[in-house]
């Protein structure tokens, strides 16, 4: 069985260990011990090759676990996040603050502002939680249905652990103790003109608040500064958007003017602040059916994010540094 196989990466001081072949077939003859003693410890690059090979084998044989949502941590951590990490660490130089406000275990709902024409801010908010948070938490995002109807994007989003923004899925994830991320502004936020940068749009219908209330998890307001400037949207080709069934087709100073080169985002400096959690457990799950309370809580979260955005903008020296 492939599950039972162990890939020996580090065999220092493990002279008595049987060879790879012997591990698979118990009848194989034990090697002479001196053969093994002579082996030098594997170099760093060899260990990397070994783990890359093991990864490749798992992919080729379909031997990896996924959860009910299609979340594939093996692929998400080793491929997807590894691929985008340099962009956020080196290019946008994401600076995360207030990570201590994100609980190490249990369900929590992270609510953030949305911007940037292309929703890169979502990945930007997820990366520090995986890399810098002591519990290395995966952020399970709630995405628009457009995400799940696009080829290539849809399966990647599922494999990265994201799901459709609907109350059923949100509550299922929160009940399971996952950290869930939501961007209530939706396309109104990502696709807003550059002139309206850092002005929060309407926060949907407060569906995220009722999901948090029903499951009794804290709401963590998250403010992202820097993503507004990556693709400054100065126009929108509405007829083309209607034709393609997209929410907007952006015009930026470089796109479509410079063609593919215009797809390169501007290297803005990012600040992400994870705010103090707003507890909901004491309100009880029945509070989700009280529209006034839901509206008030929605406003509170929105105000918190807006004020934090202003504060962060004051602290920022310039867009690019």
């Amino acid at each position: 069985m492939p599950e039972a196989r162990i890939i020996p990466i580090d065999r220092r001081g493990d002279a008595a260990a049987p060879t790879r072949a012997a591990r698979r077939t118990p009848t194989a003859v034990e090697p002479a011990p001196e053969e093994v003693v002579d082996v030098a410890p594997p170099a760093d690059w060899e260990r990397k090759i070994a783990s890359a090979l093991a990864f490749l084998r798992r992919r080729l044989t379909g031997d990896y676990p996924i959860d009910d949502f299609g979340f594939d941590p093996d692929f998400a951590d080793n491929v997807l996040m590894a691929a985008v990490r340099p962009l956020f660490e080196k290019y946008f130089r994401v600076e995360a603050r207030g990570l201590e406000h994100v609980p190490a275990t249990g369900g929590a709902l992270l609510v953030a502002n949305h911007s940037g024409t292309v929703p890169l801010d979502a990945i930007g908010a997820a990366l520090p939680l995986l890399d810098q948070h002591p519990a290395h938490r995966h952020l399970r995002m709630l995405g628009a249905d457009l995400v799940f109807s696009l080829p290539v994007v849809a399966p990647l989003a599922r494999k990265a652990g994201h799901t459709l923004a609907c109350n059923a899925d949100a509550e299922r994830l929160l009940t399971a103790g996952e950290l869930v991320g939501v961007w209530p502004e939706g396309f109104k936020g990502v696709g807003k003109p550059f002139s309206e940068r850092y002005k929060l749009q309407r926060f949907g219908r407060g569906g995220f608040v009722s999901a948090a209330l029903r499951t009794g998890v804290p709401i963590i307001p998250c403010s992202i500064v820097g993503a507004e400037e990556i693709y400054p949207m100065i126009g929108n080709i509405k007829p083309l958007a209607r034709l393609l069934g997209l929410p907007y087709v952006p015009i930026t100073p470089t796109f479509p003017l410079l063609g593919p080169l215009g797809l390169l985002p501007l290297p803005s400096k990012w600040l992400i602040e994870y705010g103090e959690p707003i507890e909901t457990a004491h309100l009880g799950s029945a509070a989700a059916d009280d529209p006034m309370l839901v509206f008030n809580l929605t406003d509170q979260v929105r105000e918190t994010i807006q004020q934090t955005l202003y504060k962060l903008l004051m602290q920022r020296r310039s867009v690019f540094f």
Binding site: V39, I49, L53, R57, D67, D68, G70, F148, V152
Partner: protein, 345 residues
């Protein structure tokens, strides 16, 4: 009191035949009547076979004369080719169910109805929640084929339930059956050495092992477990993952071309896939089985993954890439590296 008298429709098909045999073996069952339009493939033993079309009123006579107390309806067919076209399939599925339900409604002896339905009634679309519970409505109502028929069948069954509240009604929504002996379009699909998939999509699939599925049908028939319940194995499998586990090679096709490739495969008699199943291969579907475990009281022995592995282990599929071969290549590379180090030392 005399024993149970059970009528099973669709008994000439593999699943129906196996269920009838299981019920017959139960000592509390006096009589099992099998009904189908075609004669059974194998020997049905002591099962009384009635070759009748459930589309005509003869079925009412069978129920009345044998004083049937339980009706198990599992003759809703998914494959038009096996019954001679889509219109015949629709007639068998919808008109057949209406006739059967009409007969049950008039019968004084019937006190239980078990219907084998499908999770296909939830449809398949990008707007679907990750898991469907029994009370959820489909986001995109199935508009063709088996799924549409099943939606209509369920509608009539619910109507029957309202008119005869005294009858115990179990509506079982099964995910795709899989296992060593199942023969469905999906098992044939996975038997293809090069498996066509929709480019850029990788749906989540869920299976129920044939033994688990039959046990659920048997439990619903022999004991009172009313209500609508999803029946599926735990966990999910990605299509790409399933193809890899079978040792086959996926062949992604651009979505505009999917329909025509499906038609070619259909004409060649390899895989009888309808348009709504093509959509299923794009968006997948997963059902929540909490109710099955907690209310219905049954925990499947096989998870989705185990059921699929049992299916591939029992068949000699034309394997291209075996796990052993891949592990062999890996070991060869690692051994080369190790030998290089030994020489250095």
């Amino acid at each position: 009191m005399s024993g149970r008298r059970i009528l099973v429709t669709g008994v000439s098909r593999q699943l129906g035949g196996r269920l009838a045999a299981m019920l017959e073996a139960d000592p509390s069952v006096e009589k099992v009547i099998g009904v189908d339009t075609v004669p059974p493939q194998g020997d049905l033993g002591r099962i009384e076979f009635v070759r009748a079309d459930i589309r005509n009123p003869l079925i009412a006579k069978v129920i009345a004369t044998s004083e049937v107390d339980t009706v198990v309806h599992m003759s809703v067919v998914a494959t038009p080719l096996t019954v001679g076209g889509r219109s015949a399939m629709k007639e068998i599925n919808v008109i057949g169910t209406m006739q059967l339900l009409a007969a049950c409604q008039k019968s004084a002896s019937v006190r239980k109805l078990v219907v084998k339905s499908t999770t296909a009634v939830y449809g398949s679309s990008p707007k679907d929640p990750a898991l469907f519970t029994e009370d959820m409505e489909p986001r995109a109502i199935p508009r063709s084929g088996y799924a549409k028929d099943s939606v209509e069948v369920e509608g009539y069954v619910r109507g029957f339930g309202r008119r005869r509240p005294d009858v115990v009604l179990s509506l079982l929504r099964f995910t795709n059956f899989i296992g060593p002996t199942v023969d469905t379009p999906l098992t044939r699909y996975f038997a293809l050495p090069v498996v066509p998939t929709v480019l850029g999509f990788d749906p989540r699939l869920q299976f129920i092992h044939e033994d688990d599925g039959l046990e659920v049908l048997r439990l619903a028939t022999m004991t009172d477990r009313p209500g609508i319940v999803n029946v599926g194995g735990d966990g999910v499998l990605l299509l790409s993952q399933a193809i890899r586990r079978a040792g086959h090679v996926p062949f992604p096709i651009l979505s505009p071309l999917v329909q025509s490739v499906g038609q070619v495969l259909r004409r060649a008699g390899m895989v009888d896939f309808s348009p709504e199943q093509m959509r299923f291969l794009q968006h997948g579907r997963v059902a929540d089985t909490t109710k099955l475990r907690e209310r219905f009281g049954f925990t499947p022995r096989y998870s989705t993954l185990e059921a699929f592995d049992h299916f591939i282990a029992a068949r000699t599929l034309n394997t291209v890439l075996t796990p052993e071969r891949i592990a062999g290549i890996e070991d060869a590379v690692l051994d080369t590296l190790e030998r290089r180090r030994t020489v250095h030392a």
